[in-house]
């Protein structure tokens, strides 16, 4: 296990002023840098639409930024497209493209920054903005089989509770691209694995024996969380932010609460910040135990599955004992936490966590010497380092392919800069590398929990949050599956005007097809399990 040193640790930290200077040299006439706040270090407002691709290329490839995501916003008289980049060690850069509301086409940057692919497809599907140069728009969130053309549900003019005429198009044909003689597509899902798998549909294109390509078709669980949020109070939207992807609820609610706190320029009290770190790492530990159980199950390895899932259930119970909810709902609120704990409570948690760590390390040492288990994971679902970079993979999957970006280090929040921990990285990019990263991160989480409990000082856990006249901000957290970005815009009444969540599953499902090419059919569940992605987190 190697811990990659992220640029943030080294000397090559690019200062904000250096960055402005570098950009000023190259894009003097095209952008006007604005000193931004509320989550961003820099906002680059584009003067000319045409320079968007070259600027994004410069940021992503030349400066080595991570791509965060794209946020579309419909304001009264213009569109705002925020292309969010992360310069590790410095912070978030917002490339802002403002267009008059009548604009229907925008240049696509998918050739420059491949990771924008699904973001552009999403905006095209939901807002009706066409991205010129994108080769595969349409049939994304709103499945063409069910939805008529021309429905743009995220437009302000679209009412959230309307009845739409439905018509199932039975003549619809999937896009199949394998042209080998005798090839066919094996459909899997959306209801598969006895329904215990989340609703995803795959078409495995094959000529028998080996699968040439597997393409996921997602958004069966699309519940339009962002549309539901509009016009509602922060307290209501918090419920949505917690509940759209419950297996990483705390990280998402934390990112959301941080966005609210940035808008109102308050900060959670130190005790709350420490407790948030503690609960975040507890969630990560529990999630990773579950992901390990799923990997063991995918290889039909019964005893290890049983052991890992017992660890997971015990952590769920420990969470419930501490917080009152197995999935950590209802704890985060803007301004801190909804309740405080007594020292006896988290000491009891510590016992559970230590036991989980011991059990996990025992399990790991046993699995490491089970050759039949390793044979099924090694060289399965490989994603090369270069592919992982251009697909901009995040979280443990990215880190298994040497993409070390971890928001806790790259752009610390909630006081993570004060903790000592490593970001485990691997280079092989196969299923086993992903499993090793999960085990190593679980160990680091326990380390962080210990540090957090040691650092706890008495004090308040919440400060009042609210009252300011609205605005927009970006909140972020490193969710168990990777970087989660929540972008929130409040109107002057304090109601949500636009809410957008960029989830790690969304980023990583986009890269899934790269791992699912030319594999044996029986490896498919294993590839799926080692990715450990959540459809519902992606779909929102």
């Amino acid at each position: 296990m190697t811990a990659c040193s992220s640029p943030a640790d080294g000397n090559e930290q690019i200062g904000q002023s250096d960055l402005t200077a570098a950009l000023g040299e190259r894009f003097r006439n095209e952008v006007s840098p604005i000193q931004a706040e509320r989550g961003y270090v820099l906002t680059l407002s584009l003067i000319q639409t045409s320079s968007l691709p070259s600027l994004c290329r410069f940021l992503f490839w030349d400066l080595g930024c991570q791509f965060g995501g794209m946020i579309a916003e419909e304001l009264s008289d213009h569109w705002c497209l925020h292309y969010t980049f992360l310069l590790p060690g410095s912070g978030w850069i917002d490339v802002l493209l403002s267009l008059p509301i009548g604009t229907t086409t925008v240049p696509s940057i998918v050739a420059e920054v491949n990771a924008v692919d699904w973001h552009e497809r999403e905006v095209e599907d939901l807002f009706g903005i066409h991205f010129e140069g994108h080769p595969r728009l349409g049939d994304f969130i709103l499945h063409d089989q069910i939805w008529r053309e021309g429905i743009e549900p995220m437009r302000k003019s679209f009412p959230v509770s309307c009845e739409l005429k439905r018509k199932l198009d039975l003549e619809w044909q999937p896009l199949l691209i394998v042209g080998d003689p005798g090839s066919f597509a094996m459909p899997v899902g959306p209801v598969y694995d006895g329904g215990l798998g989340e609703s995803v549909h795959f078409l495995l294109e094959t000529v028998g024996e080996d699968v040439i390509r597997a393409v996921p078709r997602l958004f069966y669980n699309y519940r339009a969380v962002e549309k539901l949020a509009e016009g509602r109070s922060v307290a209501d939207v918090l419920l949505l932010a917690e509940r759209f992807a419950a297996t990483s609820a705390f990280a998402h609610s934390l990112a959301f609460c941080q966005a609210v706190e940035k808008i109102h320029t308050v900060e959670a009290p130190p005790r709350a910040a420490i407790l948030r770190v503690l609960i975040c790492e507890l969630e990560r530990l529990r999630h990773h135990a579950g992901a390990i159980a799923a990997i063991c199950e995918s290889t039909a390895f019964g005893v290890s599955t049983a052991h890992a899932s017992i660890i997971e259930e015990e952590l769920l119970r420990a969470s419930c004992v501490l917080i009152g909810h197995r999935y950590l709902f209802g704890l985060n609120i803007p301004g801190g936490l909804s309740r405080d704990f007594e020292s006896g409570e988290y000491q009891r948690l510590l016992l559970s966590v230590d036991k989980a760590e011991k059990d996990l390390s025992t399990l790991e040492s046993r699995l490491r010497y089970s050759s039949s288990f390793l044979d099924r994971l090694e060289d399965v679902g490989v994603i090369g380092i270069d592919s992982a970079r251009y697909l901009n993979l995040v979280g443990p999957i990215g880190r298994a392919s040497a993409q070390h970006c971890d928001l806790r280090k790259a752009c610390p929040y909630s006081g993570y800069e004060g903790y000592a921990f490593d970001v485990p990285c691997e280079k092989e990019g196969d299923g086993y590398a992903r499993l090793r990263v999960l085990f190593a991160e679980a160990t680091q989480s326990v380390r962080l929990i210990h540090q957090a409990i040691d650092a706890l000082q008495p004090g308040a856990v919440r400060v009042p949050c609210g009252g300011s006249p609205g605005g927009a901000a970006l909140g972020w957290a490193e969710a168990p599956r990777g970087a989660a970005l929540h972008w929130l815009s409040l109107d002057e009444k304090g109601l949500v005007d636009r809410y957008h969540a960029i989830t790690p599953s969304f980023s990583n499902w986009h890269g899934f097809h790269e791992a699912a090419e030319d594999f044996a059919f029986q490896d498919f569940p294993i590839i799926l399990a080692t990715f450990g992605l959540s459809a519902t987190e992606c779909d929102r």
């Binding site: 209801v191 006895g194 609703s199 069966y220 669980n221 419920l239 390895f301 997971e312 769920l316």
Partner: protein, 251 residues
């Protein structure tokens, strides 16, 4: 070389004794708010007002909870000065509103029921709790319950999630593919009432608007034991709970 067989044996039996005995372990259930009698009308109304999903209705001094709407946000539990009573049990299964008689499966199914699960837009929590039933700690096989891979052999359709538009078709397909003598169980408040997602252009707002529901397991998410209770109710091995009972608020 790992002696997995030996390691497995050495772990011993960890499975819960439920339904023979109540499970005593801590944290198996988050509990839920229960109908509470306050000392004044005002307290009851405060409790009702604090609920973000209108699950609490004040009636005189009493505050009644509709478990099918409750999303376990715990705001009523933590509210000061009028917290709701909190039950820490897990036997929550109930019949859909307006249905008097339990559509229990015939006795032939009581020791062997095959369950088909459909994720119809679930947030992952309910589905995850359903999966936990396969965990050795719960191990529903011992009770004769099995998750089946195909609706062709399924007796019970267990639906989680509020039924998103894209999943409406697959859900109906699954239902149609099931043989007769089939029951539908809505698990989680989203599947019962739409939960926080409610009813919208893309959400059916609960399974009931798509399929005839026979059993409901409230909770957000209902813990594994609550779902297990639901399965036992469906086979007639347990009975549904009384939702009308009111407990007095202890100070």
């Amino acid at each position: 070389m790992s002696f997995w067989f030996w390691h497995g044996l050495r772990s011993g039996i960890r499975t819960t004794h439920y339904p023979r005995r109540a499970e005593a372990a801590l944290g198996v259930s988050p509990g839920c708010p229960v109908n509470t009698e306050f000392s004044s009308d005002g307290e009851a109304q405060t409790a009702a007002a604090i609920c973000p999903v209108d699950a609490i209705v004040a009636h005189g001094k009493s505050a009644f909870v509709d478990q099918g709407k409750c999303v376990h946000c715990q705001r009523c539990r933590l509210s000061i000065p009028s917290p709701m009573n909190w039950d820490t049990g897990y036997e929550w299964s109930r019949l859909p509103a307006g249905q008097a008689e339990s559509m229990t499966l015939p006795s032939a199914f009581s020791r062997s029921m095959h369950v088909m699960v459909v994720d119809a837009g679930d947030c992952g929590a309910c589905l995850h709790e359903v999966k936990q039933l396969n965990n050795p700690l719960y191990n529903i096989h011992r009770l004769g319950f099995f998750f089946t891979a195909t609706p062709r052999t399924a007796d019970l359709l267990l639906v989680v999630g509020p039924v998103s538009e894209n999943m409406r078709g697959p859900l109906l397909k699954t239902w149609e593919a099931m043989p007769a003598t089939r029951r539908v169980m809505a698990v989680g408040s989203c599947a019962i009432s739409g939960g926080v997602f409610g009813h919208s252009f893309i959400c059916a707002g609960g399974v009931g608007s798509v399929l005839p529901v026979d059993f409901e397991v409230p909770g957000n998410p209902p813990p594994p034991l609550a779902i297990l209770h639901g399965l036992l109710v469906a086979t007639g091995r347990k009975s549904v709970v009384d939702t009308e009972r009111v407990s007095e608020r202890r100070s």
